[in-house]
Amino acid sequence: MISSTIGIWNYWIVFCLMMIGLFLVIGRKNFLKKIVGLTIFQTSVFLLYITFGKIKGGTPPILNESINSIYSNPLPHVLILTAIVVGVATTALGLSLVLRINSEYGSIEEDDISAQDLVDYHDEIETGKSIDLKFKQ
């Protein structure tokens, strides 16, 4: 009983971590917090993959002729190595988008930004001409 609970305990917690990451992405209005949520989500997916590759009593997949042992599965490790580097590239891109939004709107809260857009839209309707200065160089 205990051994089988331990056997899938990792999966449960990893799923909880994923859902916390997803909640930070869709439930929080702060853009920096959304990117942190993405990072949490990514790391928990990495954990899930590496957990699949584990073999009980195995060693890291580095061949050693002196010990005749079983090796854990190297394929998830390779996939996740690639995914970690791509994940950092995604984080950098997201952060630079946030910085750009902050310099345009002066805020990184979703409520503030949609309020500004709404005000601009109403101004546009009232004056009858399009205020398109925001993205003009």
Partner: protein
């Protein structure tokens, strides 16, 4: 062999508590530090799960470089997260339902560490056998990454290059920053 699974369960529970603290905190610097700690404990878990290459990549790239990126971005951003006016009921409920479905499905997953799990039967033994003869590198992860799946790694390099170009294009300052643009939400609050 149960002890390493126990260590795993302990570490993953620490990660859960860090993630819960991340939901609670509203200060940006705490958020960044907690994310860094989360990555470091993930790296520890990768070591206990026999993924040593992934562990040091996560410790250097995940806990190092991304923390530096967050700190650098933090310098230009507001230091406090504002309390949201709207309720977060719908996102929380959908996350709980989705998590419940995933946990329900986890009963069909093979237990951790079983040699008979389908993932260990497919192509992985071939790679472990062939690594020494085909490529001559004892580290199987390196030989798969750089030789068997070399095109994947090449694609990854292209992705990182594209992201770098996009970051440069986004951060290029052509027009002066509008510093004192008043926030309409504050204006609305003042009028109300």
């Amino acid at each position: 062999m149960i002890s390493e699974l126990l260590i795993n369960a302990f570490l993953v529970t620490i990660m859960l508590s860090i993630a819960i603290a991340l939901i609670k905190t509203r200060t940006v610097i705490f958020t960044v530090i907690l994310t860094s700690a989360y990555s470091l404990i993930a790296a520890l878990m990768f070591i206990t799960l026999d993924a040593v290459d992934v562990a040091f990549t996560e410790a250097s790239v995940g806990a190092g470089i991304s923390t530096i990126l967050f700190l650098a971005a933090m310098a230009y951003l507001p230091k406090k997260e504002e309390e949201s006016i709207n309720t977060q009921f719908v996102p929380a409920l959908s996350c709980i339902i989705l998590g419940g479905i995933l946990i329900w499905c986890s009963y069909d997953l093979p237990e951790i560490g079983q040699l008979t799990a389908p993932i260990h039967q497919h192509i992985a033994p071939e790679y472990i056998k062939g690594s020494k003869e085909d490529i001559g590198i004892p580290n199987v992860v390196t030989s798969v990454l750089a030789s068997y799946r070399g095109y994947d790694t090449f694609g990854e390099t292209i992705v990182v290059f594209t992201a770098g170009v996009a970051v440069l294009a986004l951060l290029e300052k052509k027009n002066p920053v509008k510093k004192n643009r008043s926030l309409p939400s504050k204006k609305l609050k003042k009028n109300a």
